[in-house]
């Protein structure tokens, strides 16, 4: 039987769920591999019997926590879809402020009624079987993940930095063009997309297992960034810090 697949969204831009719909050339093959049984953005039906749940978004309200636990209950396998679910992505930037401060700032005196907690990745709330990183996910990586699951393989992420893919592409390192890049510490898998388009890597896929962060902070400083700017580079997609919540 084909695995029953559901897609859920929490605090995010939903770009990662949409990225699935952007597999236009492969979508018909995907439908042959799996059955979509629940996906609010794309369909009206719902189902509670789920083999694989793809969940995008970070968890940033009490309601989110409750719903995610429910999804975990009804799914055999839970896969974090994209940066928000994996590192909190930019939604973690609000964690720099206290929550009551954030609400006060944004809603004024009525703020207290709103439900918001520091943004956290899925794995901080429930056990997660696999994390597909990236903002948004890499379509190829998503397709490989679906295929591997259909074949009974465990999906794997590279544990080397973006520089590796950048080299394999034959790119000129953007440091030679006066930019500063997070590639040496960021986890590969995107095919060094940004440097290949002349931009620098912002580490949307999070870091490799053992990034040499100290060394990279020094490198960025040597290339002219201020301490604040270095912090910004490190936190744009990776602001979530366990110890802060």
């Amino acid at each position: 039987m084909k695995p029953r697949v559901a897609v859920f969204s929490f605090t995010s831009c939903e770009g990662c769920s949409l990225a699935i719909l952007e597999c236009e050339n492969e979508l018909l093959d995907v439908i042959n591999l799996v059955d979509f049984v629940r996906w609010r953005e794309a369909m009206t039906e719902t189902s509670d019997e789920i083999d694989i749940a793809f969940v995008d978004g970070s968890i940033s309200t009490h309601e989110d926590v409750r719903k995610l636990q429910e999804i975990r209950e009804m799914s055999k396998m839970l896969i974090a879809l994209g940066a928000c679910a994996h590192t909190t992505c930019i939604t973690g930037l609000k964690n720099r402020f206290g929550m009551s401060q954030v609400k006060e700032i944004v809603y004024g005196p009525d703020g207290a009624q709103f439900d918001t907690i520091p943004a956290r990745p899925l794995r901080a709330v429930v056990p997660v079987d696999f994390e597909l990183p990236g903002c948004p996910i890499d379509r190829g990586e998503f397709l490989r993940c679906v295929r591997d699951l259909a074949l009974g393989k465990k999906p794997k992420l590279p544990n080397y930095p973006v520089c590796v893919e950048c080299k394999r592409k034959g790119n000129v390192c953007v440091f030679f063009k006066g930019m500063k890049c997070m590639g040496p510490v960021a986890r590969a898998g995107c095919g060094a997309l940004c440097p290949s388009f002349g931009d620098y890597c912002e580490a949307c896929r999070g870091f490799v297992d053992n990034p040499n962060e100290e060394s990279h902070k020094e490198t960025l400083t040597e290339h002219g960034l201020t301490v604040q700017e270095v912090m910004n580079y490190f936190t744009l997609f990776n602001a979530y810090d366990e110890s802060q919540i």
Binding site: E26, D29, V30, N32, L33, L143, R147, A150, L151, N159, Y160, P161, C163, V164, K167, R168, K169, G170, N171, V172, C173, V174, F175, F176, K177, G183, P184, V185, G198, V208, D209, N210, P211, N212, S215, H216, E218, T219
Partner: protein, 349 residues
Amino acid sequence: MTVRVIDKQGVRRLVENLQQEAKVVAPHRREGENQWAFQEVTDPDQICLEYVTTCLPPKEFAFPTRETLVRYRLGDPFAAEAVIQAEPIVLFGVHPCDIYGLQCLDIAYCDEHCDPNWVARRAQMRIVGVDCIPDEWCFCAAMGTATVDSGFDLFLNALGDGAYLVEVGTEAGEKMLAGLELREATAAEIAAVKKRLTQRIKRERQIEEDTRNLPLRFTGKAQSPVWEKHAERCYSCGTCVLVCPTCICFDVVDEVSLDLQEGTRDRVWDGCMLEDFAVVASGENFREERFQRLRHRHFRKYAYLFTKYGRPYCCGCGRCVRQCLVHIDPVAILNDLIAESKGGATRGA
């Protein structure tokens, strides 16, 4: 044989002639400061023969960054076949160090087992060498690769104004010159090139030891503080080994079509500086620490393979240190090792 001179127009015609029969690949300028890359020639005027070094070495034309080794159809039984794709190709404008690098891979890829993909591509490859422009990082003189006397079909030595002294390496090279009217070189021209080549052997970045003794300098150096000192800022990003003309390692990955009908086994460039290179299925990592990986890379280049094949597996092109963001430098490492084994302490340690 008389020594001939090819002028700017001649070079252009030579390229056009070669393009009749083969894909011609030559250095081109790339965006960014002082950047070049080997690229297929579409317009001979875009070729840039006066260049320092390319981002990737020319090995990619015989060992692509990713290539399919085996293709198979699923089913019972599955049907697998080798995929060996080779086409006539001319690498035009290769520096001596890179020619040396290709030879290193020839040896390693043909040792005991013969890698069919490498061999097929190399069999159809012709090389036109050109002498180089040094930069602040290269050290070919120290490695003895500033000049080569084999490994090319033609070799061009600059005379200025786009003219070159032509050295013929093979019969195929001689044939390449057919139809081009080349004048004979003057004695003064020959002397000028000779003089330049002799000077080339003495460059600033030197290794303070006869390179032939390098393997000796590695004995007893496994526990040297040199490794940790130099590895401190290493990212394990693999850039140094991926851009190296003499590095050979690869990973093999399986790709299966989404309809689950067919698949390929592909090899992609890999490198021993990467953290997971020596991880086994049980999870154990046999080179867990950065310094262990840095140590292995240097032992391999200057001791293991040197001893095995009688030549260093480093051509001194300087790509690794040039492109390493923290400029971890084999010359500095070698000199530290040499200083250490000559009795001094590690410099700066």
